[in-house]
């Protein structure tokens, strides 16, 4: 973080995954809360990117402000020791459509 070298050398704990919003209503308050709750279980940092907008995945307001409707694609970027587990859990959550239609 401190030196520019370490970021350029692409630390192996940084992972990316593209997630598709599959529930009908998109990421409104309830799914956003589920994502934040899931993300908070992990130490890793998590960011979501959509249409050049980048928000912290542990911020509920940020997630909602993405206004990610049904069908939209989010790039999830996780960085940290448990980033792999975090992404897996998020993927599962998106696949489950946040337990919604």
């Amino acid at each position: 973080m401190e030196s520019s070298e370490s970021t350029s050398s692409a630390p192996e704990t940084k992972r990316e995954k593209t997630l598709v919003v599959q529930n009908k209503m998109g990421i409104h308050a309830r799914p956003a809360a589920m994502i934040v709750r899931a993300a908070n279980k992990f130490q890793s940092e998590i960011f979501f990117e959509k249409d050049q907008e980048l928000v912290n995945g542990k911020s509920i307001m940020g997630l909602m402000m993405l206004a990610a409707g049904s069908g939209s694609k989010l790039k999830a970027v996780a960085e940290g020791d448990d980033s792999e587990d975090l992404l897996r859990e998020l993927e599962e959550l998106f696949e489950r459509k946040f337990d919604e239609p």
């Binding site: 956003a32 934040v36 908070n40 206004a67 990610a68 409707g69």
Partner: protein, 328 residues
């Protein structure tokens, strides 16, 4: 977690007279020795039908009020007949008789009362007003009661019960709220009554009213330090806020979409849990929680309204995206 429900203790005629006599303008006309008779039902009965000899469904456990109708009916008989009629009534173990409108204690009633050690009271009120006021007074006496561990505050009209383990900062929060012109109802122990099966009213014990305990300082007198506005005798409980110590990974309510409840005496009260972390201004948070509750009572739900805006916005975006597809 819940304190047991205390069944309201039966009150006797003497206690009723003592507690509510002045307000109900009551005077004792006969048979002081009958004041220990219990009032077994918290309402008031006009025994007009019973005087005619009809005793099915006679509410003998209630205070019996003789008003204009009853007294005029009795007056249509001679003294001996009046005595017989009243004796039938009193035989059924009524707690006491109240004469409204300052009616004179007639010889027949005096005789029955003395023979049966039945207290006779009199009020200057008209019957309707006496019945209304006495019913309200009895409703309070007979209300189911319980004790909740928590500090009850009146926050701009929203009765908020602060709960949490001892030492979590309830009293400090209450003090901060008092400094912001809210009022203290009860510190640490709140006596709750269920009124008319639809409203929870909390109060402190008479003994520690206006006092609270502050760690490191001791007992303080709230009213004399912050003024009489800072204390309140009783308040309806609208919201329960529980302080919980924050732990990593604990589930916090982030949206406010789901309304949790806390049950007191079978009634559900809106409930929020506030995680306590160093640096969080609990007083501010409680104040805001009460204001949100106030808004909800007026029909505004900020969390729902915000979410509806967001969903509508996403739906609009989706329709804009779809349109060019169709024209293609």
């Amino acid at each position: 977690m819940h304190s047991p429900v205390k069944k309201p203790a039966l009150i006797n005629v003497g206690q009723f007279f003592e507690r509510h006599g002045a307000k109900l303008k009551l005077e004792l006309l006969a048979c002081e020795d009958g004041l220990s008779r219990p009032i077994r039902e918290g309402s008031v009965n006009r025994p007009a039908l019973a005087l005619t000899g009809f005793f099915k469904f006679f509410s003998n456990k209630c205070i019996q009020v003789l008003g204009a109708a009853e007294m005029t009916y009795l007056r249509s008989f001679d003294c001996e007949k009046q005595y017989q009629i009243l004796r039938e009534l009193v035989k059924r173990a009524v707690p006491c008789i109240v004469l409204s409108r300052n009616y004179v204690l007639n010889p027949a009633l005096r005789r029955v009362a003395e023979e049966n050690h039945l207290p006779v009271l009199r009020t200057s009120m008209i019957t309707k007003h006496f019945i209304n006021m006495a019913t309200v007074a009895l409703e309070y006496e007979f209300a189911p009661m319980t004790v909740e561990h928590g500090t009850l505050m009146d926050i701009q009209g929203v009765g908020t019960l602060l709960q949490g383990k001892s030492g979590v900062g309830k009293s400090e929060c209450a003090l901060a709220l008092i400094e912001r012109n809210h009022s203290l109802v009860a510190d640490d122990l709140t006596y709750v009554s269920l009124i008319n099966e639809r409203e929870l009213v909390g109060r402190s014990s008479e003994l520690n009213r206006g006092y609270m305990e502050c760690r490191g300082i001791g007992i303080i007198d709230v009213a004399s330090m912050f003024g009489i506005r800072s204390v309140r005798l009783e308040k309806r409980i609208d919201l329960v806020v529980k302080f919980v110590e924050w732990e990593p990974g604990m589930e916090e309510d982030r949206t406010g979409l789901e309304q949790n409840h806390y049950e007191i005496l079978g009634l559900k009260v809106p409930f929020s849990e506030i995680p306590v972390r160093p640096g969080r201004d609990l007083c501010r948070l409680v104040e805001v929680a009460s204001m949100v509750e106030s808004l909800k009572r007026m029909g505004h739900n900020p969390a729902e309204e915000f979410n509806e805006r967001l969903i509508a916005h996403m739906a609009r975006q989706a329709s804009v995206r779809e349109k060019p597809d169709r024209t293609r």
